[in-house]
Structure formats: C-alpha cells, structure tokens
C-alpha cells in the first residue's frame, strides 16, 4: 500500500519566486488498485508522480511504500527501490532515440545485477508480450508513435514491478493507440499491479475499472 503523508513541494524556497507546487497532500493507494490523478496542466500532477516514484524528494512529508519510508532513503537505496519496484511511463516516452528497442528495454535490468543471458531472456519475453518483438533491433527514432509507446510500456514492465506510474501517457497518441494503451492498463490491473495515472485526458474518466479518482487544483488535493 502506498501512503502519502503531508506532502509539500516548494520551488525556489527563500526567494521572491517561491511557490508551492504541492501543498499538504495526503492519500492512500491500496495494492492492486487503479488510481487516477486528474488536473489541468500545472496543477502539480507530474510533480506528485515524480515524488511518488522517488525521482524527486518532497520538501515536507513522506511517502511510504508498504510502511517503508522511501522518500527519506539515501539516493543509492531510493534508486535501488525504484529499479526493483516501480515502472514509469513518461509523457514523451523518454526513450533513448539513438539506441535500439532491445537496448532501451534492457537498461533497467543492468543495475539489478542480472547476467547478459538473463537479461536477453527477460527482454525477449516482455517484447513478445508487448507485441514489439519484430522491431527489437530497430532504432527507436525510426518507430511510429504507437510502437514507441509499446516500447515504453515494455521498459516499464521489464523489472516485474508491482507499481506502474504513468504521466500523461496518451497526450501524444491518437484515439486508437490511446484505447490500446488503456486496454493494456486494464490487463495489468487484472494481473494485480497497482496503477497510478496522472492525466487530463477525458478518455480515462469514463472507465469502469477505475478504483479512485483524485483531483489536483493548484497543488492541493480536492475531494
């Protein structure tokens, strides 16, 4: 279970430009649930998601994953936690454009200490599941939008993590690819993974398998 306690994030602290990106956020996310953070651009969704994934640290408060205070961990342990337990899908995919699909997907496994043989096996499995095995040696910049998305999904799933975080995943996709993506998320939820999506795409708001919707307005959680 993911717990957020009094999360606040201040930028430019102490100067004239100081502002609160997040203010006193509190919530709980049960294991295996599908949660949406709704809000317009600049409402703090991405900031919240980056704190949740331990990429950023909060100015105040803490994040607990199954009672572990991950937001307070030193970088080495936070990164290790992230590598093992979190899969992140970015708005603009954030893939390495000049590397192949295979390499992109295999990267998260390297800090975890797998041998090359194990890595190859796992990558092949996940590429098959994501239906992109036929493009495994293709340079990412040559892929279409939908293919890049499948590559990003594969990378997020490669470490067999239980938590998937998605930041505006459908903002650069057309309707068909967006629906494909939502279908994938549904399958993942049914397999027991915890899914958190930060989005303002209305496609997500009518789904029947959503467990909870949080709304963020100017950095504050609105019920």
């Amino acid at each position: 279970m993911i717990v957020a306690k009094n999360i606040s994030k201040i930028y430019f602290e102490g100067s004239k430009k100081e502002f609160y990106a997040l203010k006193n956020i509190n919530f709980e996310i049960k294991k295996g649930s599908f949660v949406i953070f709704k809000g317009v651009s600049g409402s703090g969704k991405s900031t919240l998601l980056s704190i949740l994934s331990t990429i950023s640290k909060p100015s105040f408060g803490e994040i607990l994953f199954d009672k572990e205070p991950v937001s307070k961990y030193p970088d080495i342990h936070a990164s290790s936690f992230r590598a093992k337990n979190i899969g992140y899908i970015f708005q603009s995919f954030n893939l390495f454009e000049d590397l192949t699909v295979f390499v992109n997907v295999s990267l998260p496994l390297i800090p975890l200490g797998f041998s090359q043989k194990d890595i190859d096996k796992k990558v092949e499995e996940i590429l098959t599941l994501s239906n992109i095995l036929h493009k495994k040696d293709e340079i990412v910049s040559n892929l279409s939008g939908g293919e890049k998305q499948r590559c990003a999904i594969a990378r997020a799933l490669i470490n067999n993590s239980n938590t998937i975080l998605c930041d505006e995943p459908t903002s650069s996709l057309d309707y068909e690819n967006s629906m494909n993506f939502i279908k994938t998320l549904k399958e993942l939820k049914e397999s027991g993974k915890t899914i958190v999506v930060a989005t303002h795409d209305p496609l997500f708001f009518e789904l029947d398998f959503v467990d909870k919707v949080f709304e963020l307005k100017n950095g504050v959680l609105v019920e």
Binding site: S46, S79, F90, N94, L107
Partner: protein
C-alpha cells in the same frame, strides 16, 4: 552490476558519444606522444652511453698540476704493475685535431695495432698497417667534400705533413660516439697530437676486485700527489645525473603543456548539453543511482584515457625507434661540434610504462572528477519535462 554487462554498456555508450570524445582522444594522444617520445629517446641514449662506458677500464690516471692536465709518462706503467690487483694496464693516446677548412675537430684515437683488445677487433682493425687510419663516416663525408677521397694530409706540430691512407670507414650504426673519430697507430697519433713518444694522454687499468678499488686509489694517491685518478663509477653516475637533469627540465616545461591540457579537459566536460542532461535524467528515472552514473561516466573516461595512452605510446615508439625521432633527439645530444647523426636503439624499461601510465591516468581522471559529479548529480525531474 555484473561486470560483463557493465562493460557492454560502457562501450555502447562510448560508441554513441564518439563525437564528444574524439577531440579529447586526439588531444590526449598527442600529449602522451610528446612525453613518451622524450622519455624513449632519453632512456635509449642513456642506455647506449652507459653500455659504452661499461666496457671501459675501471680507472684512468692523468697527470694534473695547477688545475691543468699534462701528458703522463709511460714509466708509470712499471710502478702500476707493482701494485697487487691492477690488471690490463693500457697506455692511451687521444686528442683533438682541428680540421681547419671547416673549423671542426676530429677526435684522434691512438691504438696499438699489435695489441688489440676484443672491442677493437670487432671493428675490424686487425689488418691495418701503421700508416693507415680508420675514420668515422662523418669524417669521411667531410674529407670527401674537400676532395680527399682516400687519404688525408695531417699537419704535424713540427710543421711536417704526414699523408695517411683511409683503410676503412666506420658505419653509422657502430656507436653514437664514433662519427667524428679517427683511429690510427698509437705512435702516429702521438706525432699528430704532439705527444712525446715516452708519454701518453693517460693510462688506464682495471681492478677486477671491487673491494680493492678504494685501497688502490688511496695507494696511488700516496704514491704520486700529482695524479688525477678517475674511477669509472664516478663517470657513470655523472652521466646518469646529467640525463636526469635534462629530463627533469623538460618535465617541468612539459607540466605547463599538461596544465593547459587539463584546463581544456575540465572546460570541455563541464559543458553539459541539454541532450546529455536528458539522458542522465532518463537513467535516473529507470533506477540508476548517482553512484551508478558516476561509475559509468568514470569508466567511459578511463577507457578514453587508456586507449589514448596506448595510442600515444605506440605512436611514440614508432616515431622514436622506427623513424628515428627527427628534430626531437637534439634535446639530449650536443651538436656544437661535428654533426652527429646516429640510430636510436629500442631500449625501454617496464618502469617507464608504469610511470607514464600512472602520471597520465591520474591527471586525466583527477581533472574529470568534478565535471562527472556535476553531471551525475543533476535534478532529473526538470530535465524530463
């Protein structure tokens, strides 16, 4: 991280960032090349000279008085024979003869053709008669320039002219020191140099038993106060010191070059493109810690430094020992007298490589420490948007 997987990653990343590292690589290679070349030349020359000196006699005595060197009387040989432990007493005659047409000096060496030692036999001196000579190749070139194709007329101090035929010309390779010498019969040498037949330039001898050398030196000094006794070990140490001194001066100057290199390195690495920031941010987002990224970057730099070290050293080896180091070999050899062209023989000690390696790698990696940290510690969130 598993080592083999990590290495694969490093080489993949290096391959993708070729353009970034290529200028650093070229600069590093040139820096190493410069330093290695000078060190190779120095150690090769040092070794040549030391090898030559090794085969010399243990002691040389000259007559010295009032700070001036005089010819030494041959009778001293008998006194020397009486000292226990002294072997291989040789009278030596040599000096310089001014070749007026060019205002340079030839080195005249007098040799007793009936009593040759092994080294001189190797030069092929057995069949030379007493009015023939063997010349170094530069001497030969000079003489030919003035139309003396196979003989030369020496001006003796007593105003006579002595014609001496050239029996043999020494080749370029025989020795560093040989290009300006003339070897001829010892008495003929005495005549040319104006030394009385009962005298010699100096007398040399060996003392095979190391422990006796101090005793014998003291005995001789007590025997005759006007003798100047030179021990081979002293000469060896003097040469080593001179070589190291010249090497040290070069090193100090080189440090200025190195300093500039480090500044360039530091600057180059401190500029981080937006693309690179994004790359590091992506790495961090997928679970790479700051430590992992530092490891990756330092390894990349290590590989670049190491490969440029290898290239620099190999290029230097090729330049010095195969191309014979044009221009640069002048640092160590004095060219005020006759032009002295010679071949540099490959001689390098393992310790030279270790020194070069340590020196270069430590400097290179030290200068990239702070830039590597700067780029590894960036805040990933901003760069990911």
């Amino acid at each position: 991280m598993k080592i083999s997987v990590f290495i694969n990653l490093i080489f993949l990343l290096l391959h993708k960032q070729k353009t970034k590292y290529i200028s650093i690589f070229i600069l590093s290679t040139l820096t190493i090349f410069l330093l290695s070349t000078v060190i190779f030349i120095k150690s090769s020359l040092q070794n040549e000279i030391l090898k030559t000196l090794e085969s010399h006699n243990d002691f040389i005595i000259q007559r010295e008085f009032g700070g001036r060197i005089f010819d030494i009387e041959n009778q001293l040989e008998d006194k020397l024979r009486n000292i226990y432990g002294v072997k291989n007493i040789t009278k030596r005659v040599y000096g310089r003869y001014k070749f007026l047409s060019e205002d340079v000096y030839f080195t005249i060496i007098g040799v007793d053709f009936s009593n040759l030692n092994k080294e001189l036999k190797n030069l092929g001196l057995q069949n030379i008669s007493n009015d023939e000579m063997i010349v170094g190749f530069e001497v030969d070139n000079l003489l030919k320039k003035y139309k003396y194709t196979n003989y030369y007329d020496f001006f003796l101090p007593n105003k006579e002219i002595k014609k001496v035929k050239i029996a043999k010309v020494l080749e370029k390779e025989s020795n560093i020191i040989s290009s300006d010498i003339i070897i001829l019969d010892i008495n003929l040498a005495r005549d040319i140099l104006g030394i009385n037949r009962d005298f010699s330039t100096n007398i040399a001898f060996d003392v095979p038993n190391e422990l006796e050398r101090t005793n014998i030196k003291q005995k001789l000094q007590r025997l005759d106060l006007e003798l100047n006794i030179i021990q081979k070990e002293d000469i060896l140490k003097k040469y080593e010191t001179i070589f190291n001194y010249k090497g040290g001066v070069f090193l100090i100057l080189y440090l200025v070059v190195l300093f500039a290199f480090i500044m360039i390195l530091y600057q180059r690495y401190s500029q981080v493109s937006i693309n690179e920031r994004k790359q590091i941010a992506i790495f961090k987002a997928i679970g790479y810690s700051v430590r992992d990224i530092i490891k990756i970057k330092m390894s990349e730099n290590f590989v670049v430094a190491f490969v440029s070290y290898l290239f620099g050293v190999l290029l230097a080896y090729f330049f010095v020992f195969i191309l014979n180091a044009p221009i640069l070999k002048n640092i160590f050899i004095d060219f005020s007298n006759i032009k002295n062209d010679f071949i540099i023989y490959p001689y390098i000690e393992f310790s030279t490589f270790v020194t070069l390696f340590l020196f270069f790698m430590v400097l290179f990696l030290s200068s990239v420490l702070i830039p590597v940290w700067k780029i590894s510690a960036i805040n990933p969130y901003e760069s990911l948007r």
